[in-house]
């Protein structure tokens, strides 16, 4: 009795599935016919058409067989592009994969700071009056060294000199990583987090610039060079 019941359910589901597939195939073909009916000499795909195919490709296994107007690879590429865009938005603001300097600098009151990564042409500033805080820089996995980040800030220079910190024994134009982190706990927390195995897996060292020519007294616009 139970076996018979299972058989009936299985038969009904197969029938329903076939009808579903038929309906999807009809829909896909009608949509492509509608594309050809539009008054354009060239085939013109709108955003809704692209979204339609991205959606159909997700819910229907045999979507490739009914697609005539574009190559299936094009649909897959669009889908991936859309996903990358979505992931980029999700990755903002202190999530894994990107580094945001503005937050720890603002927490320690270094709102006038400039941050530069040593050894590359990348220059970026922590505060941008014209745009909201939260400029990001993607970690380059090909960079073999640890990250040495130079902090230039009038406030930092003032605090370090008031705290009696001396310059680096080898390079008198900077303050040592340890001294900068002693004075600024947020930078230590930031370094601990990003140096961990879940994030970069490399050391993040902050050094403070003592040379006044590197210290910006007025917040500059965000600059990103060389990338």
């Amino acid at each position: 009795m139970i076996k018979a019941l299972f058989c009936i359910i299985a038969l009904l589901s197969v029938g329903f599935k076939q009808r579903c597939e038929l309906a999807l195939e009809n829909l896909a073909l009608s949509q492509q016919l509608a594309l050809f009916n539009r008054n354009h000499k060239r085939l013109w795909l709108r955003r809704m058409d692209r979204l339609f195919w991205v959606y159909v490709s997700r819910i229907w296994e045999r979507w490739r067989e009914s697609l005539i107007v574009v190559k299936p690879d094009t649909v897959v590429r669009r889908h991936r592009k859309g996903f990358a865009l979505c992931w980029r938005r999700l990755s903002r603001h202190n999530r894994a994969g990107r580094i945001c300097f503005s937050y720890p600098l603002a927490r320690d009151g270094l709102t006038d700071a400039t941050v530069r990564m040593r050894g590359t042409a990348t220059t970026f500033y922590s505060e941008n009056p014209g745009k909201p805080l939260g400029h990001h820089w993607d970690a380059d996995p090909a960079h073999p060294r640890n990250f040495d980040l130079e902090l230039g800030s009038a406030k930092l220079t003032q605090r370090m000199s008031e705290g009696g910190y001396e310059a680096h024994p080898k390079i008198p134009t900077i303050y040592k990583t340890r001294h900068v982190m002693e004075q600024h706990p947020s930078l230590k927390e930031f370094s601990d987090k990003w140096a961990g195995p879940d994030y970069l897996g490399r050391e993040v060292n902050f050094v403070g610039l003592t040379d006044p020519k590197y210290v910006s007294t007025t917040p500059s616009d965000f600059v990103l060079k060389g990338r």
Binding site: P169, I174, N205
Partner: protein, 103 residues
């Protein structure tokens, strides 16, 4: 006690030799050599619970820096520093430098 503690000393070993000596004598910390733009080659040790140890070489002296996680209380920090004095510094042949040479 601060979250970052430093000790100055002088060691006859190079960075590679220090790494080998520490890997042998203090195996519960993972030791390795690292390179920094400002500090050149240095020794980095990490414990499983997040303490970071850096051993830097300056011309006149060497420096050991211990970075504690913020959840560490004073007693735990003191116990850890006692282990540094008893195990890590003897392993790298550290001798004291004159007081005040390091900042």
């Amino acid at each position: 006690m601060k979250d970052i503690v430093a000790k100055s000393f002088k060691s006859p070993l190079s960075v590679d030799e220090m790494v080998k000596a520490l890997q042998t004598n203090v195996p519960e910390v993972s030791w390795g050599g690292r390179e920094s733009e400002y500090d050149d080659l240095y020794v980095l040790g990490r414990t499983a619970d997040g303490v970071k140890i850096r051993i830097l070489n300056y011309e006149a002296y060497d420096e050991l820096e211990v970075y504690f996680p913020s959840r560490y209380f004073d007693e735990r920090k003191k116990a850890f520093m006692a282990r540094i004095d008893a195990e890590v510094l003897p392993a790298i042949g550290a001798t004291e430098v004159p007081h005040g040479i390091a900042t």
